[in-house]
Point group: C2
Chain length 455, copies 2
């Protein structure tokens, strides 16, 4: 069995470098959804490629897709007997609005207390660098006991639209024994956990058009319908006042939670949820605990609405158009296609004749489940135990990582989620952070995982 002692020693001695490398990566504003950040996307992809080359990876390439490139590189010197891991990460990040709520600039990484603040610090540049640092620690000491292929994409935050085609076109190159997916986290700095289920997603934009152009609300109020009001009524009708989703047939495919599913969920109090969400009051579907609702039940959320005049002061306008972004998180056995059809059916029967509607699809992913009995999960459990001194709990997360389902379906490759974000990292919101003690322990955990998985 290989010995991780020297690698652990190396990682402890090089924490400064692990922090500086992460900061450099975080300075690149690689927001994938906004066209004006196209050049930052290319910059981030190149940065990752250069990093892999410097670490001795081979076949390093920035591979174009329909939208943002995938960075690939491989290090296969552990030999044919050693297992091959496909490390998955993404170099893109979420937008930064509302920008005025950030305490420091989102792309000027800043340490305050035990945390490093920047967009992408936790989701997931921090996790990418943590794994690379674990690899480097072995390379610089006793040698890496596993083969590694890296696939770092730039479209995760927009739902990985090009990844399916990329995986299909690169099946031979991506062949591996396990996907190690760093896009993950643990429950608390003192409560390690391993994710064993992810919700799916289907994300849409509804656009309504009423009259030809914005009109004066004094001249035409009472004469024609108001697309902003129609949108309000459509959205309001999608959920009842207790949080149950009213799309036709929405719960038909939802697999009920078994007693075992419920027992496997971590124990998280409502106070913990309130604190983590920054909310005074919790809300959701009756009959399920908050943790069940967050991790194992489907949801519907309005992600954005825009209509009419939204500047300062008043404008007596009757808007011609209204837009809303609506997404649903899915659980087994729902599929994005079926839920989209339910949404279309709802719109067909509820949109009044006073407006025309259009549905735009933004992203979709199936829900995913990971086998807790697998060698990979068991190696992960042991790795956490060695660093944290406690057994990690199995967790389901409410978020969606499209690649998990894609790799299983297309390559037959299972995934282990191994990342070190925290629930209060404000990912996707202002003041995103990475908790640095957890980050450094994460590097150690990844080192132990390589070792345990190779043994």
């Amino acid at each position: 069995m290989p010995d991780p002692t020297a690698a652990i020693r190396y990682s402890l001695d090089h924490q400064d470098e692990a922090l500086e490398d992460l900061k450099a990566f975080l300075r690149i504003a690689s927001i994938s959804t906004l066209p004006e950040h196209e050049k930052d996307i290319i910059l981030a992809a190149s940065w990752v490629a250069e990093k892999l080359k410097a670490m001795g990876f081979e076949q390093v390439a920035v591979i174009p897709t329909a939208r943002h490139p995938v960075v690939y590189g491989e290090w296969l010197k552990a030999g044919k007997a050693a297992p091959t891991l496909l490390f998955y990460g993404h170099y893109d990040v979420q937008p930064v609005d509302p920008i005025d709520e950030w305490e420091t600039e989102p792309f000027v990484p800043t340490v305050r207390g035990e945390n490093l603040y920047a967009r992408g610090a936790s989701d997931m540049k921090g996790q990418v660098i943590a794994h690379l640092k674990a690899i480097e620690a072995f390379q610089k000491t006793s040698g890496l006991p596993v083969n590694i292929k890296c696939m770092i994409e730039g479209e995760e935050e927009i739902g990985s639209p090009s990844l399916e085609a990329f995986i299909n076109a690169n099946k031979e190159r991506l062949k591996s024994d396990l996907c190690l997916n760093g896009d993950s986290g643990i429950i608390a700095p003192d409560r390690p956990s391993l994710v064993v289920a992810l919700r799916g997603l289907t994300y849409h934009e509804i656009r309504l058009t009423g009259q030809r152009t914005d009109q004066h609300s004094g001249s035409f109020g009472g004469v024609i319908d108001n697309p902003a009001m129609v949108m309000a009524k459509l959205l309001a009708g999608m959920k009842d006042d207790q949080g149950r989703i009213l799309l036709p047939g929405f719960y038909d495919d939802v697999r009920e939670l078994s007693q075992h599913d419920r027992e496997m969920l971590p124990e998280l109090s409502d106070d913990w949820w309130k604190e983590t969400a920054g909310a005074k009051v919790l809300f959701g579907e009756p009959g399920y605990s908050t943790t069940e609702r967050a991790k194992a039940r489907p949801t519907l959320d309005v992600n954005g609405i825009l209509s009419g005049f939204t500047g300062e002061g008043s404008k007596t306008v009757l808007p011609a158009r209204a837009m809303a972004k609506v997404s649903m998180r899915l659980v087994p056995d729902q599929t994005p296609a079926r839920v989209r059809a339910q949404l279309v059916q709802y719109l067909e029967s509820h949109v009044p004749e006073t407006v025309t509607w259009q549905l735009i699809d933004h992203s979709h992913a199936n829900p995913a489940v990971i086998d807790t009995q697998s060698a990979a999960v068991q190696a992960g459990v042991r790795a956490f135990e060695k660093v944290w001194g406690t057994t990690p709990v199995f967790d389901r997360v409410g978020g969606t990582v499209p690649v998990v389902d894609l790799l299983q379906k297309q390559l037959g490759v299972n995934t282990l989620m191994l990342g070190f974000g925290l629930p209060n990292d404000n990912i996707h919101g202002p003041n995103e952070k990475q908790h640095l003690p957890t980050y450094f322990k994460g590097i150690e955990t990844a080192i132990h995982f390589f070792n345990e998985f190779a043994s």
Copy 2:
């Protein structure tokens, strides 16, 4: 009796000047609601003051208020026996968004066919210049038969918040026999009309706050409520599916239309309304004709909504906040204060405990009614007959001109609405225009009105 022949001749000979002066005024982007246009507001006020001075007005002053100044000037050389008119206008304009729907720049006045396109062309820089040109035509020929005081404000498009205090502080200066208010229009180029009733207004902004910050919809969907969804439900509950307003007690103060009221409304077909609104389908309160709904029934409209991510593509955010602008048009005997209280009562009983709410008041005005038997209205009727060759109909308008009610209450001065906009001028929307043949006939009509009123 004075003779308008020479003045009419002068106005016909100087139409080019009347167009060029209007264009110069329209080049100033005097948007009152946007702080970044403060300097344009000052520019527009100065432009008007200089124009009055050049025309021989005396006591010309740009008088500061709490927000935007009022331009005052007087020409009292018609003598004590002649009546004194207080001409009311405003030099401010509406914002220009959605900017990409303008065919030409909003502040680059452009003639296409019979129309002059620019923000403010119809509402109401065109009407201000039309009246000034009528005054000038008399000044340059037989002499103006009435005394004129001008009060041109800069806050009409934000609900005239400083005007009440201004009128109170200038009662002596503003003393007059009639207010001539140019902020008006006629039904069609071949259908002159005189406005004899205006709806009131109360305009509010509702702000909702849920959790502390925007959150990831995967992590917290199902855990906490969604302010965007709460806003949708609140707005949806303000009106039923047929367009009746559901605020508690909203219709209690609404005076039912008498048979006479109904007969006095102009005959406008539903096809005319569809064409004018640019809509395929009309919509509103059952039991009333479209014209009644537009001109003589109260309304509630959503003027704007904003929440969450509204950029291109997708962001899986659960918004922390939502904002909506909501305004109601009022009819006798409703008051803004009572309707505001109804809105507050609605919010108090409908906002769930999952969010906190805040109500911001933007503007308010009482509904106003004008006596059709007055000498002023009768002089207006004769003026239209002389230019158009047809008797104008009496019209009620859905819009709101706060000053009408203020002058009646504070100075006991009645108003005549005399303006030459058209219902399809796109005021408040993109591609606002003034129909030039109507504009030139408007100048003639104002000349005849001065003459008839002085006789």
